[in-house]
């Protein structure tokens, strides 16, 4: 069985050939079974162009994190298609999904998920080492300097503040040069100043490095850093807003229930 099906382009063109960085088609995900079944995603369909910064918002339990995990191959949809960078993710074992993910997707978590036993530099190059890809030390230093940690290469995560740890996580997500960076509440555990630094770095990843960033958040201020906002309610897309401002997003969130009734 072919785990990863290449669609219409060769591997060498990956990363430049597709104008679409991420596409989800009728993706559904249900947890539990019988009466207690909870539909986290209900036939969600959308596509994101390369080089965009999108925030995904919605009330708790609206399926935001599930959406992100399905897009990253960390969770498996019950049905539907996930296409990252022109290549369809077709399931298979965890090993297949991991290989798919680590060459195309960078992930930033709310709880950082760095390895405490490794230094900043070692944590950053870990995805490269695991993929047996060559490590360009100068490039790693450059990335870590760009996130403001050029002088902390030998520190361990427990010697850093929350904001610094999240910046290491962003450096780790950038180092493999993925086409898509997915961030799940990346500022959820940070103070406003650290949060702003992290958000500016994510913006830079899009504007300077040409990556595509999808960020789940419940904070209208964080969402206002994105180019557009996708609203999610009860596992369905409940609207989109371009060039969001914090106030407009907050206003829209307050009336999300009304939108969800009509759907999109």
């Amino acid at each position: 069985m072919t785990m990863i099906r290449r669609r219409d382009r060769r591997a060498s063109e990956r990363g430049t050939g597709s104008a679409e960085a991420l596409r989800l088609v009728k993706v559904s995900r249900t947890y539990g079974s019988g009466d207690r079944a909870v539909t986290a995603l209900d036939e969600v369909t959308f596509s994101l162009a390369r080089g965009t910064f999108t925030a995904v918002m919605g009330p708790s339990g609206s399926g935001k994190s599930t959406l992100l995990q399905c897009a990253a191959g960390l969770d498996r949809p019950d049905s539907g298609i996930v296409v990252v960078d022109g290549t369809e993710m077709t399931g298979g074992g965890e090993a297949e999904l991991t290989r798919f993910r680590r060459s195309r997707v960078g992930f930033v978590f709310q709880q950082y998920n760095l390895l405490d036993t490794l230094t900043v530099a070692q944590n950053t190059v870990l995805p490269l080492k695991l993929a047996r890809r060559p490590v360009d030390r100068a490039r790693v230093r450059e990335i870590l300097t760009a996130v403001g940690l050029g002088d902390r290469l030998g520190h361990r995560p427990d010697e850093l503040s929350g904001g610094q740890r999240q910046r290491v996580a962003i450096a780790r997500a950038l180092v493999t040069e993925p086409s898509v960076i997915l961030a799940d509440e990346p500022t959820g555990a940070l103070d406003t100043r650290s949060a702003r630094e992290v958000l500016l770095l994510l913006q830079d990843a899009v504007r300077v490095h040409g990556r595509t960033v999808v960020m789940v958040t419940h904070d209208p201020v964080a969402a206002s850093y994105a180019d557009s906002v996708l609203f999610l309610a009860d596992g369905r897309i409940a609207g989109e807003m371009r060039r969001p401002t914090a106030d407009a997003v907050a206003e829209r969130l307050a009336h999300l229930g009304d939108d969800a009734l009509t759907g999109v």
Binding site: T98, N113, L130
Partner: protein, 437 residues
């Protein structure tokens, strides 16, 4: 805090299984051997029988007790360490260090008390079986009845509770303290003391005559103490060795870096491994030398001599099996609590296969270190014994016994780590890194 301790034991009995098992086994071994003291002290036992029983209880029971002390303590240390996150949480909710200490020590005492209580019944049976063996071999008169009394109970409960409470106290104190320079001075003293006492004990073998009944004791005691000393020293050895270890591939890369950082904690896992290899090496070889010497002394190979050999090997076997179970137990505990770490490795892009590769590489390094240290500790006991008992330096048996021990140690280490890790990897990575409910 004591109420909280009891509640946390009651609510999550599973997480205390490893502690319970080690307390149970420890108490079982100690009480089984020490009940021989009670039997010997009972009225109506003839002098020869009493002396045989006292010697057996004193020699094997004595170093068995020392062994239980360290084995239970190392398992407890591993178990307390895995709860750092929970203790941080309690500290954040306003628990003082003293309260935390009372909670963890309270838990350890409660669980090991339960373990020791559970061990009473089996220990009575075990003591009877042991006495039966002595009677079958003609060492003890058939009329002697087994009795289970104060010596067995006091030593069993005392050793188990002391080891559990002491290890829990030290572990929680270490967990609660910030990393500070100059720490580990106590550890250095402890290492030095263990090595010095071990060397002294091993050397004191030379003060005995060739036929002394307690000749085995100083060799075995010395080996245990040397094994403990090496285990405490192993963090430094590991760090030095890991610097130039050419482990290939991403898994090897990660294993070397993780182990160098976790070297201190690994000494807790190395303790039972080194003790197992050391104890098995010294007791099995010493027994083999003893058997050969008895045979060579010209005593006709009677049924009694055969029985005696069986008896001795059974007694030694109990000790060796205990060590092996403790090794599996603490490796299991140490690997289970790395579920979150494995999850983070997977989220960073490691396939489950690569995670298991890291664990396999670590187990390999652990096995080699444990076998080398254990063998040195064992040899230190064997050589003086062989020199005093016979005229040669090394036992003239081939390396068969030693190879068997190494095979068991390697198999136990690899199988336990890999099977436990495979189970830890079977949960989705995102769930594995979520704080335990």
């Amino acid at each position: 805090m004591l109420a909280l301790a009891l509640r946390s034991v009651r609510r999550r009995p599973g997480s205390f299984a490893a502690t319970l098992l080690s307390a149970f086994l420890g108490a079982l071994v100690v009480m089984t051997f020490n009940s021989l003291h009670d039997t010997a002290g009972a009225p109506g036992v003839d002098a020869v029988s009493a002396e045989t029983l006292t010697t057996a209880a004193g020699v094997v029971g004595g170093y068995g007790t020392l062994l239980v002390l360290f084995a239970v303590a190392s398992t407890l240390t591993v178990n307390v360490r895995r709860r750092t996150a929970e203790m941080d949480l309690l500290r954040c909710s306003g628990a003082t260090p003293a309260q935390l200490g009372r909670m963890v020590v309270g838990e350890a005492v409660a669980v090991s008390l339960a373990g020791a209580l559970l061990a009473i019944g089996p220990a009575v049976l075990g003591g009877r079986v042991l006495l039966g063996l002595f009677q079958d071999s003609g060492q003890v008169a058939g009329s002697v009845d087994h009795s289970f009394g104060p010596v067995a109970l006091v030593s069993g409960f005392g050793i188990t509770l002391f080891a559990a409470a002491g290890a829990a106290f030290l572990a929680v104190r270490r967990a609660g303290r910030e990393r500070r320079p100059g720490k580990g001075r106590a550890r250095a003293y402890l290492t030095g003391a263990a090595l010095l006492l071990g060397a002294a004990s091993v050397c004191s073998t030379f003060a005995f005559t060739a036929t002394a009944e307690a000749l085995m004791a100083p060799a075995a005691y010395g080996s245990i103490l040397l094994a403990v000393g090496f285990a405490l020293l192993s963090a430094n050895v590991l760090r030095a060795v890991l610097g130039r270890l050419p482990l290939p591939g991403p898994s090897g890369y990660l294993a070397v870096r993780l182990m160098r950082q976790r070297a201190d904690q690994l000494s807790g896992v190395l303790m039972p491994l080194i003790l197992f290899v050391g104890m098995a090496t010294v007791t099995l070889h010493v027994q083999a030398v003893e058997n050969d010497a008895i045979e060579a002394s010209g005593v006709p190979k009677s049924v009694d001599a055969k029985n005696l050999e069986t008896l001795n090997l059974t007694v030694v076997g109990i000790i060796v099996v205990f060590c092996c179970v403790m090794l599996v137990n603490s490796l299991y505990a140490a690997t289970t609590y790395r579920r979150g770490e494995f999850g983070r490795q997977r989220l960073a892009g490691a396939t489950p296969h690569q995670v298991l590769g890291v664990v396999a590489a670590e187990s390999l390094v652990l096995t080699v270190t444990g076998v080398v240290c254990g063998t040195v500790a064992g040899l230190a006991g064997i050589i003086p014994f062989t020199v005093v008992r016979t005229d040669s330096v090394l036992p003239d048996r081939g390396p068969g016994i030693w190879l068997g021990i190494v095979a068991v140690a390697a198999a136990a280490t690899m199988a336990t780590s890999l099977l436990t890790a495979r189970r830890a990897v079977s949960t989705p990575a995102v769930e594995a890194v979520a704080p335990a409910a």
